[in-house]
Amino acid sequence: MDLQDLYTATFRRALLLLGNRHEAEDAAQEAVTRLLGQGSGTVKNPGAWLRQVVSRLAYDALRRGKRTVDLPPEDAQLTDPRQEGPPDPAQVMVEHEQARLVRSALDRLSPRDRLTLLLRAEGLSYKEIAQAAGCRPESVGTILVRAERRLKEQYELVANSPARG
């Protein structure tokens, strides 16, 4: 795996957690820089190491709270650039709008709720989530239950508000 591949995976993890391209670029670059600073051969599994480090960096950024929300967060280009033929404009709009609403709802959650939900959605174990969120693995279930309820509430608020988020 070359450096750009590692960076791509790291950037995507950061973007998912932060929802802001500039912040995601900063976090991903910081993580890769730290990896390079470790000296060759020190880190056994750079991919796993980077994902853990960038999750932590993203969580720190969320907790610092100086968040600039840039919506649409994931860039306007939402259809898969690899797909064949021109994208269906109606489909693009629907996907885009849904992602924007969910992102608005996530932005209203606490950093820990948000991190826990997204890392779980990415398939991380409770132990890995606990490590990133700085809590006990036994607490992850409780945090998830509450975070899921809050996300649902916030999504309904955002989706039903006249200004739509």
Partner: protein
């Protein structure tokens, strides 16, 4: 897995959905309890709805363009960046150090008071109860006595000494002159109703530098111990403590704790500022707290104490700087003077505690 009497808490049920928990007891309960099976169904529905919502964001991220970084231009610069290389003395010392830096002083005074080296003064560190609670939780999760023994060769008593009931004469022999309360607030007996003491214990540590570095790596902590620490031995003497308690008939109480400093020897060349940074990262302390601790000029002789809104308030105790920590009922004062750390607390008013501590 939590302990429960009638029905398991939601968090445990949620974990069952993710195959994270499945104790025999929980499974038996689910098999026989229609209520909890219904609760589980509701949780499963919410989890599914959540996954559906989040998949919209995941899909958008997966399709989002990724910047291309000109690595060739960056690499030479990045590789020359200084590497954070804290010098440390083994996981056991690390644990003790962090306990001093980040543990709630009231909790520490009551059970496990620890300070580093020979502290003579205090420094204020602005923080919040939440940050401290997070740090304690982070440490409890990460550092256990078993782990410490895996990462360092430790010889000394199996368990840290405990506070034991003692007599005034034995306490005086252990500690020397004790802090005399300036007054005894009304409603309390003139003499302490209970005396406690904790004897010092001596530990010898030989850190397994490679094991510690591997462990730090596994924790995702971007730091490592200096290889020149390999084969070095350190001696740690835990603090001596004397506690006196006055208890009145109406439930009012006063506790005065006096403790010596933790002594660490054989630590020549330890960079405490870097060590503090490493410990802060380990505990998951906020960057602002780590920075403040690292900037304390004379860290080896300074006990950092947390202050801030809802936390502690800076106060003067005679010539010494101290902190007043309000509690649900009453509060506590902590300060350092003449090589001792003092704790004066109880369910008394702030003014009463300050009057007791007045020099």
């Amino acid at each position: 897995m939590s302990w429960w009497l009638t029905h398991p808490p939601e968090g445990d049920l949620r974990a069952v959905l993710d195959d994270e928990l499945g104790s025999a007891r929980l499974q038996r309960h689910l098999a026989s309890c229609p209520t909890c099976r219904a609760r589980l169904t509701v949780l499963a529905e919410t989890a599914q709805e959540t996954q559906l919502l989040l998949s919209a964001v995941q899909g958008a991220v997966a399709k989002s363009p990724v910047p291309t970084i000109p690595w060739e231009e960056i690499l030479p610069v990045k590789t020359t960046m200084p590497r954070l290389r804290p010098v440390a003395v083994g996981a056991a010392v690390l644990a003790l150090f962090t306990a001093t830096l980040l543990v709630d002083p009231m909790r520490a005074a009551a059970s496990n008071w620890l300070s580093i080296f020979r502290t003579q003064k205090i420094a204020y560190v602005e923080t919040s109860p939440k940050a401290i609670a997070n740090a304690i939780e982070g440490l409890e999760q990460k550092l256990s006595p078993e782990l410490v023994r895996k990462l360092a060769q430790v010889s000394g008593p199996e368990e840290l000494p405990k506070m034991e009931t003692t007599t005034p004469a034995a306490a005086a022999e252990l500690m020397g002159p004790l802090l005399q309360p300036a007054i005894i607030p009304g409603g309390l007996p003139a003499e302490p109703t209970r005396w406690g003491a904790r004897r010092p214990a001596t530990y010898t540590l030989r850190p397994d530098v490679d094991a510690i570095n591997n462990w730090l790596y596994d924790q995702g902590i971007m730091a490592s111990l200096d290889p020149k620490l390999k084969g070095q031995t350190f001696q740690v003497v835990t603090p001596t403590m004397v506690a006196r308690q006055w208890r009145g008939a109406d439930g009012r109480s006063l506790m005065i704790v006096q403790a010596t400093s933790l002594q660490v020897s054989g630590t020549g060349g330890v960079n405490l500022s870097e060590l503090a940074g490493l410990m802060g990262q380990l505990a998951g302390a906020p960057a602002s707290v780590i920075d403040q601790i690292r900037q304390i000029p004379d860290l080896a002789n300074t006990l950092p104490l947390p202050v801030g809104p809802e936390m502690g308030e800076k106060v003067a105790i005679g010539q010494a700087q101290g902190v007043y920590y309000p509690k649900e009922q009453g509060g506590a004062l902590v300060w350092q003077q003449g090589g001792f750390t003092y704790y004066v607390g109880g369910n008394l008013t702030r003014a009463e505690l300050l009057a007791v501590a007045a020099r």
